[in-house]
């Protein structure tokens, strides 16, 4: 099968390409960009005028629910959704059941993804055993099994000593640490941003300080331990500014944002719309605008789906009792493209 994709705007960040050009594919592999290879006769030709032609996207954070919660989704179902949304590589957090704290689970996920054949799935290994925040996970074994980084998922490491040692050890293994910054004490019991909407609706709040305090602590530890660290899905402009300052001071930290945080705010909860129950919570319009600005100026280096598929019942409950999370694989690219227009 020989395929030509003509007149599209070809974007290839790795090779620094961004121009209108023709692309030629032979047996599923790119054979040439610009001029057709000698003797190339296309079996099929696509006119991509006015369209983007780019490599498959990478989503830094998507829950696939397998193993453990197959009633919500499976690796096969979610990688299929990813492929439909233009995503060919997914990073899966370690908070599956069982937790990704041993090589067997890494193998299982890779195997299931290969079997399904829709997209590549990369695993993050656990930072602490069972994600309990008490003892270090076997990071060398996880790295050898193929984990590209370590993380404690959405579960906080509240013990600062454990966090310090975990970062030191991850640095020893040259593994990047993916951090979800949330102070567990300030966030406990909360389900919405502490502010105008949570007060009006009587929803237990999660203050902005739950995020900024965790970011402040982790930045100190990152600087001290020299670990390669990445902050996941920050929700407040104040926390993002702290990252920007740390980067300005020379700390090589990176940060991503969840696509829905660029479009929704606490106001979208309306009268208890549980679809808008997410963690970290949707914050103010000022935060949303600040996150967009930080994406535009490069402080935020990636947009991810933060895909969290659910069964129907998970959202059919009073707002605080509903499960947090939003499905985002198939809307990641369209939403990201729309940020350019904003």
């Amino acid at each position: 099968m020989r395929l030509s994709i003509l007149n599209g705007r070809v974007i290839d960040p790795v090779n620094g390409v961004d121009r209108v050009a023709d692309l030629f594919v032979v047996k599923g592999r790119i054979a040439a960009l610009g001029n057709a290879p000698e003797g190339f006769v296309a079996d099929r030709s696509i006119d991509a005028s006015g369209q983007l032609v780019c490599p498959g996207l990478v989503d830094l954070r998507a829950r696939l629910r397998e193993p453990g919660q197959e009633t919500k989704a499976t690796i096969a179902s979610e990688t299929r959704a990813a492929a439909a949304g233009g995503i060919t590589t997914l990073v899966s957090p370690p908070d599956t059941d069982p937790v990704v704290d041993n090589p067997a689970v890494v193998d299982l996920i890779r195997h299931r993804a290969a079997q399904a054949g829709f997209a590549r799935v990369l695993s993050l290994g656990a930072l602490t055993q069972g994600l309990t925040g008490k003892t270090l996970a076997e990071m060398y074994a996880l790295k050898t099994a193929g984990c590209i980084g370590v993380s404690n998922g959405d579960r906080a490491v509240s013990n600062t000593e454990v966090m310090r040692r975990a970062m030191e050890y991850a640095a020893t293994q040259s593994l990047p640490v993916f951090l979800r910054a949330e102070d567990p004490w300030l966030a406990e019991g909360g389900c919405a941003h502490e502010g105008a909407v949570s007060v009006r609706l009587g929803l237990p709040g999660i203050p902005e300080a739950a995020e900024t305090i965790a970011v402040a602590r982790d930045l100190q530890l990152i600087e001290q331990t020299g670990v390669h660290a990445h902050f996941c899905g920050l929700s407040s402009v104040r926390a993002v500014k702290m990252i920007a300052r740390a980067r300005f001071d020379g700390l090589p930290v990176t940060v991503d944002v969840s696509a829905h945080q660029l479009f929704l705010t606490e106001m979208d909860i309306g009268y208890f719309d549980s679809q808008c129950h997410v963690r970290p919570p949707l914050r103010t319009q000022r935060d949303r605008d600040g996150l967009r600005q930080a994406l535009a100026d490069g402080t935020i280096s990636a947009v991810c789906s933060d895909h969290q598929p659910h069964d129907v019942d998970a959202k059919l409950a009073p707002f605080p009792a509903s499960e947090p999370g939003i499905s985002g694989l198939e809307t990641l690219l369209p939403l990201t493209l729309r940020t350019k227009a904003c």
């Binding site: 502490e194 007060v199 609706l201 009587g202 009268y271 019942d313 059919l316 409950a317 605080p320």
Partner: protein, 325 residues
């Protein structure tokens, strides 16, 4: 799903009562006027009027309650409705799925109204979104969100005692943060247009953003009560002492408890209200609770007339809107 005025039908009439927020001034006044017409019913030899004969009201209480449950039951019975009481063990984890499953079952038994109390904010809205079109939902308290009939009976009591709302200064004292009663009272009092609405509590019990609801925040009891016409005390849950909200009941009573001394800075004819149940010597002294300025027991008996008004208005609508959903 996200219809703005879920509680109004196509004609703008009350189809459910979920929250005071969004009700027009005239709608609140109509409810109070209707309640006024029911006020003598309990004193007559036959304490029943046949407005809801043949209708079935289900009291669905996922949280313990004495006053609210009893007055709703009495109100429904005085309107000649059949009343079913379902107490759901609060210790069992009642998930949304079983909640909605339970509703389906009750719907299949041809009920007309659910009176719902639930520990989670938004529970009444969720139920109202999912019930069959002929069923009405009355919120009898959802989490920290709303307790609209309590606020209405409080408005009824204030009007009974004071006549007009416009000249009044009202102080709500206590745990604003966790109080569904306070939220509903704030919406009612701002809609009815009192001269000044204050909330009074230590910083731990008042969220900062509450001023966005149109209230003045005070952290000193004496300043907050100065020249008030109406003092509404809120119940302080004992659990608040276990966390980091307050150091002790003793210190709370000393700083924010209503005593004859602290009440003296309010207007001489100020009335004292409390939604009950009272914690004596925690938020209010017995002298004040049982004193001449207290209207706490009037609140309870007014609760029946106000709940009769709400039920009859919600269920007694002419059936022109059935296709509107």
């Amino acid at each position: 799903m996200r219809r703005r005025n879920l509680q109004l039908d196509a004609q703008g009439r009350l189809r459910h009562l979920l929250t005071i927020e969004g009700l027009k001034r005239q709608q609140i006044v109509d409810i109070l006027d209707t309640a006024e017409s029911f006020i003598g019913v309990g004193d007559q030899p036959v304490r029943k009027i046949p407005l809801l004969r043949g209708k079935t009201v289900v009291n669905l209480f996922f949280e313990a309650s004495t006053r609210t449950l009893t007055t709703f039951e009495l109100a429904a019975k005085r309107l000649s409705a059949d009343v079913l009481k379902i107490n759901i063990n609060t210790s069992a984890t009642v998930k949304g799925e079983s909640l909605l499953d339970m509703l389906r079952n009750l719907e299949a038994m041809h009920c007309d109204m659910f009176v719902v109390r639930h520990g989670d904010s938004g529970a009444a809205h969720l139920i109202a979104q999912h019930v069959a079109p002929h069923i009405s939902v009355v919120n009898a308290g959802d989490g920290r969100h709303a307790h609209p009939t309590q606020a209405l009976l409080d408005m009824f009591t204030i009007r009974q005692q004071k006549g007009e709302f416009a000249p009044l200064t009202v102080a709500i004292v206590g745990d604003i943060l966790h109080s569904r009663v306070a939220r509903s009272q704030i919406h009612a009092l701002t809609t009815l247009g009192v001269s000044e609405l204050r909330v009074v509590a230590p910083r731990t019990l008042v969220p900062e953003a509450v001023s966005g609801l149109g209230v003045h925040v005070f952290h000193d009891l004496h300043e907050g009560l100065r020249d008030a016409d109406v003092v509404i005390m809120l119940r302080l849950q004992k659990e608040r002492m276990q966390g980091a909200m307050l150091p002790s009941e003793h210190e709370y009573f000393h700083t924010f408890g209503l005593t004859e001394d602290s009440l003296a800075v309010a207007k001489p004819d100020a009335i004292v209200m409390h939604p009950g149940p009272i914690n004596r010597c925690v938020e209010i002294s017995s002298e004040v609770a049982d004193g001449p300025q207290s209207v706490i027991l009037q609140q309870v008996s007014n609760g029946i007339a106000v709940r009769m008004a709400v039920m009859s208005m919600v269920l007694g609508r002419a059936p022109v809107d059935e296709e509107a959903r």
